[in-house]
Symmetry: C2
Subunit: 191 residues, 2 copies
């Protein structure tokens, strides 16, 4: 489970874990190996290879783009992770290209929100879609992705989640995405 008091996590795909991996799609760039189950555990620099197909690490951090007004609106609407009825999940791993990282803060903010409406669009899917973002780019060991995002929702909201992703993937922000892997999950039903 993703404990809000912790900041550092490892996402471990293998033969064990509370989430069953239903699909594994390379949206942009290289895929991740298939596995049956996904577990979220405390950060470990290395997971024994025998225990997993792959593992990815991330850290929650301070807000990078939202304004106070946006944050207030988000907090008022958003749901926590761990709702018992929210037994569908998604794990989306993203890497942005070097052009993105060479932009200044005002340029990145402009693309994220003034051009792409990432925050405003996401708001429309609250509280149905619960979300937490993890950063990987500044970890000391080289990471294959810049961000990992974890989502939880009810089965009835799976279509809305697809709609949200479709909207985001059509934005100018997504033109900077050079790798994206999308895993869909069901809680339980795994080893």
């Amino acid at each position: 489970m993703i404990d809000k008091s912790q900041r550092l996590f490892s996402f471990v795909a293998g033969e064990q874990g509370p989430w069953s991996i239903q699909s594994n799609t390379a949206v942009v760039g290289e895929s991740l190996p298939d596995a049956a189950c996904l577990a979220v555990i405390g950060y470990t620099e290395s997971v024994p290879e025998s225990a997993s197909q792959w593992s990815l690490r991330g850290v929650t951090s301070n807000e990078r783009y939202v304004t106070r007004d946006e944050k207030t609106a988000l907090v008022a609407r958003q749901a926590e992770l761990g709702r018992p009825a929210a037994d569908r999940g998604a794990f989306i791993a993203l890497r942005k290209n070097p052009q993105w990282w060479a932009l200044t803060q005002d340029e990145r903010r402009s693309i994220v929100e003034e051009q792409s409406r990432h925050i405003a669009v996401g708001m429309n899917y609250l509280p149905a879609i619960a979300r937490r973002l993890f950063h990987c780019r500044d970890l000391p060991s080289a990471q294959p992705f810049d961000f990992l995002t974890w989502f939880e929702f009810n089965a009835a909201d799976a279509g809305a989640f697809d709609e949200l992703l479709g909207l985001l993937r059509g934005t100018s922000e997504w033109r900077f995405v050079e790798r994206e892997v999308d895993l869909r999950l069901i809680r339980g039903r795994c080893a």
Copy 2:
């Protein structure tokens, strides 16, 4: 030396290193142990205790506050690290308080620049003062500071550097600083 193509560094204080530690001042909060020398090496999760008094780690990252116009002006004026005549250095380790980290991006930017003129004031000391910023807050091992900043300048500019620090320490941004340690360095003259 600080190689621009690398992002991850360890700052190791002990009996060896190319920089001699001339002073070690706890400006706010707890001090760091005294040592004779400071070395900058590639990132290592742990430095043997016998080899050092202390070590601190940091990673360079993308810009967090500057706008494109500010960046253009900074790049036009700033000097690289490693100038032979710039044999004076400073290593300043900072931690900001939880209130800072709970602020949103627009609030932090407003404090950094619109209220405190951190970027504009710093610009006035270019190219004399060369600088590089390292982030520690999101490293996986708990770190005692959020930022490490490395400075290099000529002996004749040491007074200007003190003036710059005096201006910054009087700003509203510095009200969020809960720990600051200021080491002054001279290149060479060490073990």
